[in-house]
């Protein structure tokens, strides 16, 4: 499972890919492609993820605005959900931020070990969701570049 791929171009050579994408995991997805030029499968997955992330972020914003009922639990679950798919794709930064959303939603600190107050959690959540979105936008650009998608 060598990362360098002389046939389809190396995603890691795209600026901004470093640190945001785990090459081994993403390579694993790429290997599932039958055609290394079309990359039909991986591309569909990646674009599915774009859609899923957009939706999830919207839901997160709604819950954070609501600030009532089980909104923290919802946020934690949404964080976990997006963590799962971003992890599968190897989108490291987004994954890490989602994990933090998951922890804050459970009123825990970054590492999920210490308890924090609800107010602190709200603050941290607002900040980390914003950060996750930025990270998502950044990695989105890299991926789009990789799939030579020049729309937008």
């Amino acid at each position: 499972m060598s990362v360098s791929d002389d046939k389809g171009g190396d995603i890691m050579s795209i600026p901004g890919a470093e640190d945001t994408i785990d090459p081994a995991t993403f390579e694993q997805i790429l290997e599932m492609d039958e055609d290394e030029v079309e990359r039909e499968f991986s591309k569909s997955i990646v674009y599915d993820f774009f859609g899923q992330a957009d939706q999830t972020f919207k839901k997160m914003d709604k819950e954070l605005e609501k600030k009532e009922g089980k909104y923290l639990k919802e946020l934690s679950e949404l964080g976990h959900f997006l963590k799962g798919s971003s992890a599968t794709l190897g989108l490291t930064k987004v994954k890490d931020s989602c994990e933090k959303i998951q922890h804050y939603g459970q009123l825990k600190d970054d590492s999920g070990t210490k308890d924090i107050k609800e107010e602190e959690a709200q603050e941290k959540l607002a900040k980390i969701i914003k950060q996750a979105k930025t990270e998502f936008d950044e990695v989105k650009e890299v991926l789009k570049d990789f799939y030579k998608d020049d729309a937008e």
């Binding site: 599932m32 569909s44 679950e77 963590k83 799962g84 798919s85 992890a87 599968t88 994990e99």
Partner: protein, 687 residues
């Protein structure tokens, strides 16, 4: 003089006796008046009558006897001082002389007690007899009072002792010492009792001693029981809570002893000590010890974690480094680092295991395991790397069950540890692994696993501490064999967790050792079904042994296998499906939550049961863990692999404990998945 006494048939009437001195003239005192003479002569008290110039006038018979004078006539008419000089048997005549003079001079009765060197005691009495203010005579008496004196001495001695004890008891403040009457009422009260029970003597004397006991003790009739025990055993000692006047309690040591005089029970002595401080000290010592030992375990566990994480990083980096283009020197050095790293990791894992075992937070899982397979696999692993001078042999009892419920990882850990120990300490000869079915009853198999070697053996003095943590019998500074000394103690705990035992004895063939352990494995329910699969298992074995690439092996195994993938995230689901398809699984169903998964597995069980379930842990509606539990509760033994992004150590073990067969971290690494699938599917066809 005796004659007139005898001659007179009727003694004169008493009044005459009184009249005698009065009727006599002044010179008449020496007259032979019968009564007067008799009084002086026959008095049992040795007596001398001296006249005013201290000349002896009369001597009693008793005096003659005690003074051992041969002739009473020799005494009469002599001066008192002379008599006191010659008489040798009477004691201390200097005092006698003094007494006589004192009586004469003071004209008062003079009495003194003399104790001689021999211990005899005499009572000297000098009585001046006065008439018309002038001294008529002096009556001297010598009474032997030795016996009385002895008695008196004893009495003094005894009262002195009593007094000493009384003072001792009364002044002791650290002990409550007091007497009870035979019925248990308080009779005496010392200062100690007052100071730490708080009652003054006036308040407490006469009360029953059960007052010091708790209500509960009183209800249980403890005070009366203690008196009874004291009577029957001669003593009763007890430790327990007692109560002060103010209601506070103290931890007391109490000794009750019955006191008899002439076989009559006088009462009981009761000595009470306040042990509250000692008890407090003991308790805080115990607490401190427990705390320290807990802290130690926690510290070990935490440190091991902290060390293990970077260790893993380092080792993975090394693996990657080994894949790069290295020259021979670099490769060799890198391999050295890797090997040392592996050893270090093993040491850390040992410590972690040990501290978990010590703190009791260690559980054994119950998978379906095949002992012969585990043994074969351990042997295979060692076959490649042991010394060529050592023959590695194995004997497996054909009666061994092909499948039973147990913890394959932990069973393997013990076997591995014993085997690698044996290989470590054996330079030539053999290491032999013998596995036997020791016992089989309705519910369990008891498996005896022995590792016999012809190595250096264990010195006689080392065999006691073999299974003690952190001990190695080779503790010399130039230790030849590395290790923490934890391996065997971990094995011991593991064997015990598996309902078994571990032990050692010297190799009966001479050199070397035999280490053995037993494990109780629960029988599987569908045993018959499994035996039927024996053929396919054999077939599989041939396959696996000839093929090298696990992915190719899996492709063969995958044919006709049905998998259920439970995953709520569609992206992950899509990726997993694709990955599984790539591995040769063409019959994969999906479920979006735990409930669906349970439903599908149950539903398909009759027609075409799934061979394996891949189960996401966090899912809406029903999570993967509870879904697995539900499946197990329904008696469905399909292998379930947990998939989780919460790849915390310990959590994975808890999934396994809750019925999962294995687990894989997300993002799923394909190579790991291949291994895991192979393991589970092969195991399934085995058992």
């Amino acid at each position: 003089m005796a004659a007139p006494l005898g001659a007179s048939p009727t003694p004169p009437p008493p009044p005459t006796l009184v009249d005698i001195p009065l009727s006599k003239t002044e010179d008449d005192y020496a007259s032979n008046s019968l009564a007067y003479d008799d009084i002086v002569r026959f008095t049992p008290a040795p007596t001398l009558i001296l006249d005013a110039s201290l000349i002896v006038r009369h001597v009693s018979d008793s005096y003659v006897t005690v003074s051992a004078a041969s002739d009473r006539e020799k005494l009469v008419g002599r001066h008192a001082d002379d008599i006191f000089d010659i008489a040798v048997t009477l004691p201390a005549f200097a005092p006698a002389r003094k007494a006589v003079r004192a009586a004469r001079d003071t004209r008062r009765l003079h009495q003194m007690k003399i104790v001689t060197e021999t211990g005899d005691a005499w009572n000297l009495r000098a009585v001046p007899i006065m008439r018309h203010d002038s001294l008529r005579c002096v009556q001297m008496e010598f009474l032997n009072v030795t016996e009385e004196h002895q008695r008196q001495l004893e009495l003094i001695e005894r009262s002195y002792q009593n007094e000493t004890y009384r003072i001792l008891v009364e002044t002791v403040r650290d002990y409550a010492i007091f007497m009870l009457d035979p019925s248990g009422h308080i009779a005496t009260w010392n200062a100690g009792a007052q100071s730490f029970k708080g009652y003054t003597p006036a308040e407490i004397i006469g009360q029953h001693f059960s007052k010091f006991y708790s209500q509960e003790d009183r209800n249980n009739n403890k005070p009366a029981r203690e008196l009874r025990d004291a009577l029957s055993d001669g003593r009763c000692e007890d430790e327990g809570w007692r109560f002060r006047k103010d209601g506070s309690k103290f931890w007391a040591n109490v000794v009750i002893t019955p006191i008899y005089r002439d076989d009559v029970l006088l009462g009981f002595s009761k000595v009470t000590r306040d042990l509250t401080e000692r008890r407090k000290a003991e308790n805080s010592l115990i607490a401190a010890y427990e705390e320290a030992s807990k802290l130690k375990s926690e510290f070990l566990a935490n440190m091991s974690h902290e060390i293990r994480t970077p260790m893993h990083g380092m080792l993975s980096a090394l693996t990657l480094l080994l894949d790069t283009k290295l020259n021979d020197d670099q490769r060799e050095l890198t391999q050295v680092i890797q090997e040392s790293g592996d050893v270090l990791l093993q040491v850390i894992n040992d410590i972690l295991d040990y501290s978990k075992l010590a703190s009791g937070s260690f559980s054994i899982s119950h998978d379906i395991i095949s002992v012969p397979d585990i043994i074969q696999s351990v042997l295979r692993a060692h076959q490649a790397c042991h010394r060529p001078e050592v023959k590695l042999e194995s004997f497996l009892d054909p009666q061994l069950p092909r499948s039973a419920e147990g913890d394959s990882l932990r069973y393997r850990q013990i076997v591995q540890n014993l085997l690698s120990n044996a290989l470590k300490f054996t330079e030539t000869g053999y290491v032999r692994m013998i596995v036997r079915l020791k016992k089989e009853d309705e519910g369990y198999f008891t498996i005896l696993t022995e590792v016999v070697d012809s190595g250096i053996g264990v010195p006689a003095n080392g065999s006691n501490t073999l299974f003690t943590p952190f001990t190695q019998f080779d503790n010399s500074a130039t230790k030849r064999y590395k290790g923490t000394g934890l391996g065997l103690s971990i094995c011991k705990s593991l064997a015990e967790l598996m309902g078994g035992n571990i032990g050692f004895h010297p190799n009966p063939e001479g050199r070397g050792s035999v280490f053995w352990f037993t494990a109780k494995l629960k029988k599987c329910k569908q045993l018959k079904h499994i035996e039927n699969l024996q053929h396919s298992k054999e077939a599989l074995k041939i396959l696996t042994s000839t093929l090298v690439d696990p992915r190719e092996t899996l492709r063969l195994v995958a044919a006709n296998k049905r998998i259920l993938l439970a995953e709520d995230n569609l992206i992950n689901q899509k990726v997993m499906l694709r990955m599984l398809a790539g591995l040769g699984f063409d019959s994969v169903d999906t479920a979006l939550d735990g409930k669906q998964a349970v439903a599908k597995v149950t539903q398909e069980q009759e027609s075409a049961p799934y061979d394996l379930v891949l189960m996401d842990v966090n899912m809406p509606i029903q999570d993967g863990v509870s879904a697995t539990k539900e499946l197990r509760d329904k008696g469905l033994q399909v292998p379930v692999i947990a998939m989780t992004a919460n790849a915390l150590k310990g959590q994975a073990e808890s999934y396994i404990a809750k019925g999962m067969t294995g687990y894989i971290a997300k993002p799923v690494d394909r190579n790991l998945l291949v291994k895991l699938l192979l393991n589970c599917l092969k195991r399934k066809s085995d058992g």
